[in-house]
């Protein structure tokens, strides 16, 4: 396998942008990534493109707007891990020597999708969905269980949101750009007890793109190639094998595989971007990614370790809670953000001396499985 480098990154502004369609958002992210890599559109040999809602030949529709045609374009869907899936396709083709230069794109326009301003609806055959299961309900059940099992409090869940919204204020790409206190978070509208509105990520439009090539030619395009040390995608296991709903075994296993592939461990990480669609979730993910022991997620948060300036800042971008969550774009966006951090280009939200970072995205609630899919990448400067 060849060593693969990230050489170009781009993203659109994230927000509620109904006047800008998927093609415009996608085009902005691709054009920015091409400029970032000092690359002509002609140099791109293949693309993996992810979108969830209303998708049909999304990649072709976007790429024709930057002069890219007549090549292998694969359009993929994997719920919130769709972007991670696109990255895997590009990374593996380059690692195996099939192609040299490829682009991964994730894009979503939630405000113009058929589910705009609705909860993501369950499938007709989804028995639990018919019985009242929703994404907020699922995370509320996990949150209640974590409180019961480990004594975690609603204030601690709220503090995740305070932290990420604070980080988001330092990020010009973020949707919210507003500070909140624990009281603000807890007094916002109750969505599904104990989860309030400001503990939920908003509906968001946006796109992100990443260009990769073999490390041995990366310096033709950039003075700061970022090595992809691990790239893992894993589908969920049966929920009946899960001993505790607050700990997703598939997420844990995907993380362990990524650490093994990269030849390092959680203690070596300087920065993490992870899936925080609901504030309590960030605490569960700390435990699965091995940033702390099982059951000690709230203590890790309380210690300040995961804030900017702490030992291992998590979601310095603002995360899904503040940046917003254009579903298929988020898996690509986390890699854009980690690459920025490792290049030292994250400006006000820069993690000092960041050399190693982990990007995480997961998604898709499937009744009977612990998760739909998990995508993890480890990058090194």
């Amino acid at each position: 396998m060849r060593e693969v480098a990230v050489i170009g990154i781009g993203q659109s502004v994230f927000g509620k942008l109904p006047q800008r369609n998927v093609v415009e958002l996608g085009r902005e992210s691709v054009w920015t990534a091409l400029k970032d890599a000092n690359m002509s559109p002609k140099d791109v040999q293949f693309a993996y493109v992810s979108r969830l809602y209303d998708a049909m030949v999304t990649g072709q529709t976007i790429l024709k707007e930057v002069g890219i045609r007549e090549m292998e374009i694969v359009n993929v869907e994997n719920a919130c891990a769709g972007g991670s899936t696109a990255l895997l396709g590009v990374w593996r083709n380059i690692a195996l020597g099939v192609y040299d230069i490829g682009i991964a794109i994730g894009v979503e326009s939630m405000t113009t999708s058929p589910i705009a301003s609705k909860l993501i609806p369950p499938a007709k055959e989804d028995l639990e969905g018919q019985l009242g299961m929703t994404m907020p309900a699922l995370f509320a059940l996990m949150a209640r269980r974590h409180m019961e099992e480990y004594g975690t409090t609603v204030e601690q869940f709220a503090r995740v949101s305070v932290k990420n919204h604070h980080h988001g204020c330092l990020n010009p790409f973020s949707q919210y750009q507003k500070e909140f206190t624990v009281e603000d978070i807890l007094s916002s509208r109750m969505i599904c007890d104990p989860i309030t509105l400001l503990q939920c990520c908003p509906n968001t439009d946006g796109a992100a793109a990443v260009i990769m090539c073999p490390m041995d030619i990366a310096r033709r395009y950039t003075s700061k190639p970022i090595k992809v040390a691990a790239c893992v995608l894993k589908s969920g296991n049966y929920a009946y094998l899960q001993d505790d709903i607050t700990f997703c075994p598939t997420d844990y296993k995907a993380a362990m595989e990524a650490y093994e592939m990269a030849g390092l461990g959680p203690d070596d990480l300087d920065v993490v971007e992870l899936h925080d669609a609901f504030a309590p979730e960030e605490i569960f993910r700390y435990e699965e990614l091995g940033l702390c022991n099982r059951g000690e997620g709230a203590q890790l948060l309380n210690s300040g370790a995961t804030e900017l300036g702490g030992r291992i800042p998590v979601n310095p971008s603002g995360g899904l809670l503040s940046m917003g969550h254009p579903l298929s774009a988020s898996g690509v966006r986390v890699v854009v953000e980690i690459a920025r951090q490792l290049r030292g280009e994250a400006e006000a939200r820069q993690v000092a001396n960041a050399k190693t970072g982990l990007a995480h995205m997961m998604g898709g609630a499937v009744a009977g499985l612990d998760v739909g899919a998990v995508g993890i990448q480890i990058l090194t400067a």
Binding site: L119, P121, P122, L127, E128, G129, Q130, L131, G132, M133, T134, P136, A137, A140, L141, M142, A143, R144, R145, E148, R189, M190, I191, C192, D193, P194, Y238, A239, Y240, I245, A367
Partner: protein, 134 residues
């Protein structure tokens, strides 16, 4: 009288004792499944036998939603109940006035069968859990 149809065939029965959930068990390795599975996901055996679950389990977690879902208007409460046979079952909770604040993880819940919602002239029936009053 309105026609009553189950939310999913073969997931429950109404007995003289009350509602009973129907699961199945792999005759090769003993793994149990709810809802029933046509094969065993552990050992891939097709040799499955139906089993009735106990009527009472323990509340594993619960949540009250203040947003509508496909068939329920807020506020409505859902939960997961751990059955003695070893599985966690998700379903709506039937809560009397004032009972919501008294819900506790670990309390005993019993299976009841009743109308979930109406579709025109048809009543869709299914299982819910309600606190055991002692």
């Amino acid at each position: 009288m309105a026609e009553r149809v189950p939310i999913r065939e073969g997931t429950f029965i109404e007995s003289a004792k009350g509602g009973i959930l129907l699961a199945n068990r792999c005759k090769s390795c003993g793994q149990t499944f709810f809802p029933k599975s046509s094969i065993c996901f552990n050992c891939f055996s097709e040799d499955m036998e139906e089993m009735e679950l106990s009527r009472i389990g323990k509340l594993y977690s619960f949540a009250t939603a203040y947003m509508p879902s496909v068939h329920f208007q807020p506020p409505y409460t859902v939960g997961m109940v751990e059955m003695p046979e070893g599985m966690r079952v998700f379903g709506p909770l039937k809560i009397q006035e004032g009972e919501r604040e008294r819900l506790r993880v670990g309390m005993e819940m019993e299976v009841i069968i009743e109308k979930l919602w109406e579709e025109g002239e048809t009543e869709v029936i299914g299982y819910k859990f309600k606190p055991v009053i002692s």
